[in-house]
């Protein structure tokens, strides 16, 4: 798609998102569901940075997501902090988690990195699960949604207000994400995916780049997690579980790995699909599993990725092998385009 076409499409998406609280009742969709789409999209975006751009199988981002959720929930419940401060604390907790796990994950690449991410991520799950006195254990913990906390507008956050906070966070995350992947730092991440040995020969410490990418990813997931807890006024251990990590990966691949808008699209399909299918049948998990299988076997490049590949082909640009879309070193990623 031409740069202008992409810009126009992005503008349309943003306008629709801005009007969503007024549009969603028309299609019988709860505003809170649309909020959930945005919030999980931020987490899916965090996976995108590691997996889609840096080529690391990040299968543990639920740890940071859950740390964000519990950070926000615990601080709101026990210290009665404001809405915005709860987000900040949740995010800080996720960043701390990244600082703690990063040094371990950094040492390995490829599928080993994935295995380490899965395993280490579970630590926090068991802590939340076992530390019943504070976290409520398996049952989770609920808490009242705190007031916003701006000095001039310390108002209660209703569902519409929440939506706009979530939208603001999403747009900020999206802009930050675009800036990061377009920066020399982001280019280096893509270069690491394509040929890490060469990056090292150029004198760059790839470990350090990956560590920073991991911290950014953890922070982003933390924002998503904190918002998620505040959205449902609840935090529970399964948010930290490796299944949740898998869902984020699915959203990202479904939408399109290495694309800027893919995570939002994937998250929308996942969250809204779950909402609709769960009301029809209790077998949501079968659909979900089938979606994984279909996605991997059928369209690994995701919706946005496949769409833009078709457009590129029409523009007679050489195409690459479809099968390894997310990890093929030469697969195209969107850098500096998209919004």
């Amino acid at each position: 798609m031409s740069a202008r076409g992409t810009t126009i499409a992005s503008m349309v998406v943003l306008v629709v998102l801005a009007a969503a609280p007024f549009l969603s009742p028309l299609v019988h969709l709860d505003v809170s569901i649309v909020s959930e789409v945005l919030v999980t999209a931020i987490a899916a975006m965090s996976v995108n940075l590691l997996l889609g751009y840096t080529g690391l199988p990040a299968f543990g981002n639920a740890a940071y997501f859950g740390l964000g959720a519990y950070g926000a929930a615990l601080s709101a419940k026990y210290f009665h902090v404001s809405f915005l401060l709860a987000i900040l604390i949740g995010t800080a907790a996720a960043l701390l988690g990244g600082l703690l796990l990063g040094p371990f994950l950094l040492r390995r690449r490829g599928i080993y990195f994935g295995l380490l991410s899965i395993a280490f991520g579970q630590v926090f799950y068991f802590i939340a699960y076992r530390y019943t006195d504070v976290t409520g254990g398996e049952d989770g913990m609920n808490f009242p949604r705190p007031p916003l906390g701006l000095p001039f507008a310390n108002v209660t956050v209703n569902e519409t207000a929440f939506y706009y906070v979530a939208l603001a966070a999403f747009v900020l995350a999206l802009l930050a994400f675009r800036a990061i992947v377009a920066s020399p730092f982001g280019r280096t991440l893509v270069a690491i995916r394509q040929n890490e040995v060469r990056v090292r020969y150029l004198g760059l410490n790839s470990d350090r780049f990956i560590f920073v990418a991991l911290l950014i990813s953890a922070t982003m997931a933390g924002v998503g997690g904190a918002l998620f807890a505040l959205l449902i006024n609840f935090a529970y251990p399964l948010e930290l579980d490796w299944h949740q990590s898998g869902y984020f990966v699915l959203m990202m691949i479904l939408g399109g790995a290495g694309t800027v808008w893919g995570p939002l699209l994937g998250s929308a399909i996942f969250v809204i699909g779950k909402d609709i299918i769960s009301t029809i049948t209790p077998l949501w998990q079968i659909f979900l599993g089938a979606l994984f299988v279909a996605c991997v076997l059928g369209f690994p490049r995701g919706i946005v990725g496949t769409f833009s590949a078709v457009l590129r082909r029409r523009a007679h640009v050489a195409d690459v092998d479809d099968a390894n879309a997310a990890f093929d070193p030469h697969a195209p990623v969107e850098v500096g385009r998209g919004v």
Binding site: P57, F59, F104, R107, R108, R109, G110, I111, Y112, F113, G114, L115, L116, I118, A119, F120, Q122, V123, F126, I127, Y129, R130, Y131, W242, H243, G246, V249, L250, I253, L283, Q285, I286, L288, G289, A290, L291, F292, V293, C295, V296, L297, P300, A323, N324, A326, F327, D328
Partner: protein
């Protein structure tokens, strides 16, 4: 306290043998094809439920112990040939995702067939009592479990080192292209190897059903310790998986005795410690799996 120590240690060894055998199956599949089989726990659960149904229908426990894993192997090889095989040429992460999807579906299917709640699956009467080990008494079923698991591990070791097929399998792990060029049917190797991994999972699944309970998610509960086992032992090393399993079993049972709340976390602490000293695990080789 000290009189609890001995049973707890033996318990830890039995638990460790479980982790080891699940990890061995995972490692077999991982080493040859790079596939991290997230559905491994689902195959354990499947074998457990099949055995449960067989015993319920009146077959003997001994028959079920062998037949249920074999049926799981059939299902496993079918899945491998149809769904996993197309992914061998692609990045290993895709097969991880695909098998994850399969495990989600399997869990729901088990829930449909056998219900969400756990079902009782007790060992046969012959193994119901306790055995006197001289220094302590211990449930006979657990001794039996340990014995079966040890036999399975020894049989696997013999198969891999003493038979022509096992030799080919190990050669294929080192260089699949070379062994294909020398005329070995690598697709057959892949299928048998996958089946072998599932068979180990199936045996563990039936035994675990008797010891740890049987529910749609019970197999998956053993999957995570098995991952940690593989990491501690070192990816690529089968021997490492055995050592790793025993270490984790002991770590978990000892923390259960002293700090029950930390029993799960202890294995991750152990994993972190091992990785600090040896980043590729105790017996992992440099270069394998990055």
């Amino acid at each position: 306290m000290i009189e609890h120590l001995a049973p707890q240690l033996v318990n830890g060894l039995v638990l460790g043998a479980f982790y080891a055998i699940v990890a061995l199956g995972l490692s077999l599949i991982m080493n040859l094809t790079g596939t991290i089989n997230m559905a491994h726990g689902s195959f354990m659960t499947l074998a457990g439920y099949l055995a449960y149904t067989m015993v319920l229908r009146g077959t003997s426990f001994w028959f079920a112990l062998l037949a249920a894993p074999l049926i799981a192997v059939l299902v496993g090889v079918l899945v491998e040939r149809t769904l996993v095989r197309p992914l061998y040429a692609r990045e290993p992460f895709y097969s991880l995702l695909m098998t994850f999807g399969l495990s989600l579906m399997a869990e729901e299917v088990y829930r449909l067939i056998w219900g969400s709640n756990g079902v009782p699956f007790s060992p046969p009467a012959a193994l119901d009592g306790t055995a006197n080990l001289g220094f302590m008494v211990f449930p006979a079923f657990r001794i039996f479990i340990a014995a079966v698991l040890v036999v399975a591990i020894v049989a696997l070791a013999l198969f891999l080192t003493r038979t022509r097929f096992g030799l080919r399998l190990r050669a294929a792990v080192q260089d699949t292209e070379m062994i294909a060029a020398l005329g070995t049917n690598t697709q057959l190797l892949y299928a048998v190897n996958f089946g072998l991994g599932i068979f180990l999972a199936g045996i563990a699944g039936v035994l675990a059903a008797g010891m740890l309970g049987l529910s749609p998610t019970s197999g998956n509960a053993l999957l995570m310790p098995a991952f940690v086992t593989v990491i501690i032992g070192g990816m690529g090393s089968l021997f490492g998986s055995i050592v790793g399993g025993v270490l984790i079993g002991l770590a978990i049972s000892l923390t259960t005795l002293f700090v029950p709340a930390a029993s799960e976390v202890s294995m991750y602490v152990l994993m972190a410690l091992v990785l600090m000293i040896r980043p590729r695990g105790l017996f992992g080789e440099e270069g394998l799996f990055g």
